[in-house]
């Protein structure tokens, strides 16, 4: 069936979408509507970037001259630079933990049976759909009960818990498509299970691990609802931005925001490409 649709597609290679059916006006208005929704998704991001170069303290039209001053301001802002450093620290350690926890969790869900497996799967996946505030509050309560002081390390524990589900879902999905016969063949050839894992299983799930690690790094770098409750005296970048927003908004936020968005976009596109199902392309 796939080849059939392809041959129809290739008959009219210049047309990008299927129009000209029974209801051409309906197709056109649907296309316009879809374009409008895409504009809704990207216009605000464009506005954010645009005003980071606008030489006016208030964010209003018409635009004034082009300027780098908001970028200079944020690069000279030591509190902000320190917050960026903290965020990088938190995101790298949290991502490392999510991989160390998430990959074995995906392996366990894929190939072992153990009591409480269903509950374990639900618990690991819960933080995706659960509002971050619940994760943040409950870990804050635990810190309070144990008398642990809040610090960047408590933030790391919170992020790792909230984001481990990303690694688990992606690696699990890849494992499900992985042909277990390859492992059996390796075992039949006398290769031990640990070497089989590193030489056969790992190369097959590597791109899923890297992809989900990039995603979890980006999310941890930008995370706020969990961080809000678990951070001590040191601020992460989103917390620093959040606290400056209390005092009022400045284009300096747009400047640092533009940098964050551009870096995130690169990491995310990279991650989506790595996570893509190879069989789709075939």
């Amino acid at each position: 069936m796939a080849s059939e649709t392809q041959s129809i597609d290739s008959a009219k290679p210049l047309r990008l979408w299927r129009g000209g059916g029974k209801l051409p006006w309906a197709d056109w208005s649907l296309g316009l509507y879809a374009a409008g929704v895409m504009a809704f998704l990207y216009l605000p991001i464009a506005v954010l970037i645009l005003f980071s170069f606008n030489d006016n303290r208030s964010m209003s039209l018409p635009l004034k001259d082009f300027t780098w001053r908001w970028y200079e301001a944020f690069l000279a802002n030591e509190d902000m630079l320190e917050a960026i450093g903290n965020s990088l620290y938190v995101a790298s350690i949290a991502t490392t933990i999510t991989c160390l926890i998430g990959v074995p969790a995906a392996l366990a869900l894929d190939r072992y049976n153990f009591p409480g497996k269903a509950a374990f799967r639900r618990a690991v996946l819960l933080p995706i759909a659960l509002p971050g505030i619940i994760t943040g509050i409950s870990m804050l309560n635990m810190a309070k009960m144990l008398g642990v002081n809040l610090s960047l390390e408590t933030v790391i524990a919170g992020h790792a818990t909230a984001l481990v589900s990303i690694v688990v879902t992606q690696v699990y999905a890849r494992l499900q498509r992985f042909n277990r016969r390859l492992e059996e063949a390796s075992a039949d050839l006398g290769v031990g299970p640990i070497r089989t894992f590193w030489r056969v299983t790992m190369p097959n799930i590597k791109s899923a691990i890297i992809g989900s690690a990039l995603l979890s790094f980006t999310l941890s770098f930008d995370e706020i609802p969990v961080t809000f409750f678990l951070t001590g005296r040191d601020n992460t970048l989103p917390m620093y931005i959040y606290s400056t927003m209390r005092r009022g908004i400045t284009p300096e936020i747009n400047a640092v925001g533009t940098v964050i968005i551009l870096v995130s976009l690169v990491l995310i596109v990279l991650s989506v490409v790595l996570l893509r199902d190879r069989s789709d392309k075939a």
């Binding site: 597609d9 209003s60 074995p104 969790a105 366990a108 153990f114 374990f120 659960l130 309070k144 818990t161």
Partner: protein
């Protein structure tokens, strides 16, 4: 050691770290929060106790009612608006975009914003809707209106717009996936039988995409239900949501037991919605079999 013993040891070593982590950082914190919700407030902190005063306060004091009702309303409006925007987009991508690679790129473009800084995406709406913001200054500059409107920002309208913007990719994703799974030959068959495009859509495509719609509504509803960034940035004085109230109990109001009780209420509500939708999705799937 025998081979079986070694295999079991290996399995144990693989499973132990994630199991421990989930136990220590998910189950135990929830249990502690549950326990705290029965504690008693005693300025400046709280003392262990077992009493239902916090829950009683939530039931008796009408302000919590109002906040809960408002939050449900805003979350529902967000889910509806997101659905209205996302469904046609997903439908267009799956059924109308001919080139598979263009479709993949457009789909990626739709979900990429999901992972881009949540705070900045909420913040940019503050700069757009504010009284000196982009929208108002545009309206005045272009002569459409003569005075800045305060109505755009600090209203429930601005919250619904912002929350929709933040969470809409969560709606597009499951609907897109569900639509992709709709067998093309069913649509063709319906056409061959002389059924018009609108009726084919209503009778064939729409029912088959319901699992995606339900999943999308669940995600957007639950996530906007628990949000406290949008009310902080674009919500007005009457814009407090449940999460805002929880946040203040752990901050300025300094009543952790009450905040914990409210978190438990939120947790139970969200879990109920998730399992309900799980059930609906599954029964939907059974219908097709």
């Amino acid at each position: 050691m025998t081979l079986a013993q070694r295999a079991r040891l290996r399995a144990g070593l693989v499973m132990a770290p994630p199991l421990m982590w989930v136990l220590v950082f998910l189950f135990v914190p929830y249990l502690i929060t549950f326990a705290y919700s029965f504690y008693a407030k005693q300025f400046p902190t709280f003392v262990p106790d077992f009493q239902f005063g916090n829950y009683q306060q939530l039931v008796e004091d009408s302000q919590y009612y109002r906040v809960l009702f408002r939050t449900l309303k805003i979350a529902a409006a967000t889910a509806v608006l997101a659905l209205v925007l996302a469904y046609p987009l997903a439908y267009f991508l799956v059924f109308k975009v001919r080139s598979p690679s263009l479709r993949a790129v457009l789909y990626m473009a739709t979900i990429v914003p999901l992972w881009v800084s949540y705070l900045l995406r909420a913040y940019t709406w503050k700069t757009i809707l504010g009284s000196e913001g982009v929208l108002n200054s545009f309206l005045i500059w272009s002569g459409i209106s003569s005075e800045p409107s305060e109505w755009f920002l600090y209203s429930q309208f601005s919250m619904v717009i912002t929350l929709t913007y933040i969470f809409i990719p969560f709606m597009v994703m499951p609907i897109y996936t569900a639509l992709e799974k709709v067998p093309r030959n069913l649509v063709e068959a319906s056409k061959d039988l002389g059924v018009g495009p609108i009726r084919s859509f209503v009778r064939v495509v729409l029912p088959l995409s319901m699992p995606g719609v339900i999943a999308g509504i669940t995600f957007t509803f639950c996530l906007s239900f628990g949000d406290f960034i949008a009310p902080f940035l674009v919500g007005g004085p009457d814009g407090a949501m449940v999460a805002t109230v929880i946040q203040s109990q752990f901050g300025a109001a300094l009543n952790w037991p009450l905040g914990s009780a409210l978190s438990i209420v939120m947790l139970v509500l969200v879990l109920t919605i998730i399992s309900l939708s799980d059930h609906m999705e599954r029964s939907g799937r059974l219908d097709l079999a």
